[in-house]
């Protein structure tokens, strides 16, 4: 190993160590949020019994102990008995009226003891910034999960489909294509009429209506499937007239269409349809567009791999497409897939933060890093509202990028 390589390795390994530590910390905080930042004690004795009031709401919802119904309403701030408060004795939403109006971390704060100090200051309404940042970790985990799971699955399946079958594998009888083209508008018209009639006659959607609509969709799909699998094999003259379906070409057209607009603009254009989109909806819309960029990478990788000899021999052995894809292609593209998903998660975090910084795509009461930064924008002198959440955001994005970089070098 030359001196230069050693140097690169040392920086990269430092960054990688930091990234590992940081992501683990974020994961830990996101999973144990209630025990780290909550205005209710972790452990408290109430009327002679021990309780976990911090997760009382969740336990009550699970139906654990009916007494939590009482526990939820206790004023824990002024409770005198035994209580073990979390590290940050505030939750992201709890208002501290004594310390409202942008109290700096170094200012004198009106608190009972150092235990109740706002270590990173407060915002306009007196909410603790540290608690907000810790809650932001959970929001970020949520974003990462939505983008990672939904986007990754869609991208893998559809990109793999386009790449694996290409333009000249799937053959359909001409009459099947005609039937499909005919059936699509018919299905949608039927769904439209039934939905509208239900809305007009009864005044609202019921679960039965939605099931009915899904049933119609299912019926038309199964009609197509039935014709393809059961009816056409019986009629040889139809089987002879078959044409290729250019799956890959169609996929490329979709890519061109979706990359015609920058992602921020598409998001604004779609979010305009919803009246007050929350963070979850924003991220779902984001994933609904962004899976295509994962799919593009997957498609390229699948095309690279599928010409290899072992795939050809697997095909010669007569393995099913499904088995070839999962057992022979997927293991060879998965490193690249993780890298792409990680890159997408980091850009989703940045985009989500910048949208909530601008005040788009956040519901009332949600707290995330972007929303804290948004408050920092409204009062520039409250630098603690910009600096600390910003550092958390940057460190997270940097860690994910480093992870992706490490993975890229492995492939």
């Amino acid at each position: 190993m030359s001196k230069e390589q050693k140097h690169i390795r040392s920086f990269q390994s430092k960054a990688y160590t930091f990234a590992k530590f940081w992501l683990k910390a974020i994961l830990f905080i996101a999973l144990t949020l209630e025990f780290l930042a909550s205005d209710k004690p972790i452990l408290a004795s109430y009327e002679g019994k021990l309780f976990l009031p911090a997760i009382g709401q969740e336990l009550f919802d699970l139906g654990c102990n009916q007494r939590y119904n009482v526990i939820r309403r206790v004023d824990w701030q002024n409770y005198q008995g035994f209580k073990l408060m979390p590290l940050v004795p505030y939750s992201a939403q709890s208002l501290d009226f004594a310390n409202n109006g942008f109290i700096s971390p170094f200012e004198k704060q009106r608190v009972e003891s150092w235990r109740y100090r706002h270590w990173l200051g407060t915002d306009k309404l007196g909410r603790d910034v540290l608690a907000g940042i810790l809650t932001g970790c959970r929001i970020s985990l949520k974003v990462a999960l939505i983008v990672g799971i939904v986007g990754g699955l869609l991208g893998l399946l559809l990109g793999g489909f386009a790449g694996y079958f290409g333009n000249r594998t799937i053959k359909w009888p001409v009459i099947q294509i005609v039937l499909t083209i005919f059936l699509i508008p018919v299905t949608f018209y039927t769904m439209y009429v039934i939905g509208k009639s239900a809305l007009m006659v009864t005044g609202n959607f019921t679960i039965q209506t939605i099931l009915l609509l899904l049933g119609i969709l299912g019926i038309s799909i199964s009609v197509l499937w039935l014709f393809q699998k059961k009816v056409y094999p019986l009629i040889p003259s139809i089987r002879r007239k078959q044409v290729f379906i250019p799956v890959d070409q169609l996929f490329n057209m979709l890519i061109v269409l979706l990359s015609a607009l920058p992602i921020t603009l598409i998001l604004l254009a779609i979010l305009g349809v919803f009246k007050s989109p929350g963070l979850n909806l924003t991220m779902l819309v984001y994933t609904g567009i962004f899976w295509i960029f994962i799919a593009r990478i997957v498609r390229g990788e699948v095309i690279r791999v599928k010409e290899k000899n072992y795939i050809l021999s697997a095909r010669q052995l007569g393995l099913s497409h499904w088995r070839i894809f999962w057992r022979h292609i997927f293991p060879n593209i998965k490193d690249q897939l993780w890298v792409t998903i990680a890159m997408n998660i980091s850009s989703a975090l940045l985009l989500g933060a910048s949208l909530s910084y601008l005040g788009i795509g956040m519901a009332a009461g949600e707290v995330s890093w972007g929303i804290l930064l948004n408050q920092g924008k409204s009062n520039l002198n409250a630098y603690w509202l910009s600096i600390f959440p910003g550092i958390f955001l940057i460190a997270t994005v940097f860690s994910i990028n480093t992870f992706a970089e490490q993975g890229k070098q492995k492939t």
Binding site: K3, M253, A260, P262, G272, Y357, L358, L373, L380
Partner: protein
């Protein structure tokens, strides 16, 4: 070669069409009943004023080239029914009874009842007013019958009996299966989509909801954005290229690796955070009097001409924020590519010929590694717009990005979707252009030996 270019041009047109259909659909669903509320939905406005108003936004026209509806709904007649509540009542009745002619006659009769002059009968007038307010805000058939039963005055008896008979008949009827069969009307060219699309294709976007024309708004904003972004992008490309060249050869290894390390940290810094910090430090005279040199806001062109100091004061910080992430991403790309190219045999042979290092970089390595930059150029306009949305709204610069942001927040959909359309057209034609350029300039593709995907 000409065949591939021809196919690309042929594909360009349907793609553009599909894009505009998508944007138009989004615009229609985002709008909802907004125009109706702009024109006065609650019936406080005169009917003629309302009809004029919906004409300016083409709401009296059908949405698309053809309209599909069940047999018992006449979409064309439904569109011009005046208060939205009444329209809803009629549509609901049509779906419940499946008898459009009967419902329409009922509507005419009730209208006649309501619009008569009752100034001599104040007690009846009160009852009629109550009926009207219910009828105009949505009412069921049974509700209508109940309301009518309360009116028993010799003045209106004949009419009421007529209405009662008709509504009794309607109560018994319900749509049969054949009523649901689609009735397809071909609307020709008088429809909203055609109107929007044929104007948009020559960049003519009509009126925004704020009353000003969209073109005037865009024209007032586009110069600022272009100026800002051109400065920022050229600065970023220059800086990134020189940094990449410099760090690949001239400096010692330690500072090169420091630069690499810092560049991956800088890449994680979002623009808006940088903007906030820069504003806090350098545009904050109250706190740091010595540093607070810069201004926030638009730079207006006064009659006395452009002052350089004013330009610098307003545009420096946004330019830095716009250029910052771009610089580091281009730098990273270029560095990796230069490193790769440096191992190539042609560099060695050039060196063996005695060509100087700087000339090798400039004439041999850089042209080969700059390829990824060319793909950026294809979608330059939309990239500019995307970057500007955040920066211009933070720095309160009234450019295109600020326009998009304000349009989104104030629900001014014509402006938002017009800008989306412009960005889409620019990007698609940029792709087409860069494809053609690739075909023209890349010898591998020109000979048709390698298929370009």
């Amino acid at each position: 070669m000409s065949k591939s270019i021809g196919i690309r041009i042929l594909l360009f047109i349907p793609t553009l069409f599909v894009l505009s259909i998508c944007l138009f659909g989004l615009q229609e669903s985002a709008r909802g009943d907004q125009v109706a509320s702009l024109c006065g939905i609650d019936g406080t406005v005169d009917e003629r004023v309302y009809l004029d108003c919906i004409k300016t936004y083409n709401l009296d026209q059908p949405a698309f080239y053809m309209s599909v509806s069940p047999q018992f709904v006449d979409v064309a007649a439904l569109r011009t029914i005046f208060p939205a509540g009444k329209k809803q009542t009629i549509e609901q009745l049509a779906y419940q009874t499946g008898d459009w002619d009967g419902v329409f006659t009922l509507m005419e009769l009730v209208d006649e009842l309501i619009e008569r002059d009752y100034s001599l009968l104040p007690q009846l007038q009160v009852q009629i007013n109550e009926l009207r307010s219910k009828y105009w805000s949505g009412i069921s058939l049974v509700g209508l019958q109940n309301q009518l039963e309360k009116l028993n005055h010799p003045e209106v008896d004949v009419l009421i009996v007529q209405i009662q008979n008709l509504s009794d008949k309607l109560t018994q009827s319900s749509p049969v299966f054949s009523d649901y069969l689609p009735q397809i009307d071909w609307n020709g060219r008088t429809n909203r989509f055609h109107h929007w699309w044929s104007k948009a294709i020559v960049f003519e976007f009509g009126q925004s909801y704020s009353g000003r024309s969209v073109n005037a708004l865009i024209k007032g904003a586009i110069l600022r954005t272009l100026l800002l972004n051109l400065i920022a992008f050229s600065l970023a490309i220059l800086l990134a290229c020189s940094l990449a060249i410099w760090s690949s050869r001239k400096i010692n290894k330690q500072s090169r690796h420091a630069l690499d390390g810092w560049s991956s940290i800088f890449l994680a810094i979002p623009r808006f955070w940088l903007a906030t910090v820069l504003i806090f430090l350098f545009a904050n005279q109250a706190r740091f009097a010595a540093l607070g040199f810069f201004d926030i806001g638009s730079f207006t062109l006064t009659s006395s001409g452009i002052s350089l100091i004013g330009l610098i004061k307003v545009y420096t910080l946004p330019v830095i924020c716009l250029a910052f992430p771009v610089t580091w991403s281009i730098y990273k790309h270029l560095r990796d590519k230069i490193k790769e190219e440096w191992q190539m045999p042609y560099v060695q042979s050039a060196r063996a010929k005695g060509i100087s290092e700087s000339k090798i970089i400039r004439q041999y390595v850089l042209p080969n590694s700059i390829n990824p930059l060319l793909t950026i150029v294809g979608s330059l306009f939309s990239k500019l717009l995307a970057g500007s949305i955040i920066i211009e709204s933070i720095f309160a610069i009234p450019g295109l990005g600020g326009l998009v942001f304000d349009a989104f927040l104030s629900n001014d959909w014509p402006v938002l979707y017009a800008l989306c359309f412009i960005a889409g057209v620019m990007t698609l034609s940029g792709y087409l252009l860069s494809d053609i350029l690739y075909f023209l300039f890349d010898p591998k593709l020109r000979r048709g030996g390698v298929k370009y995907v």
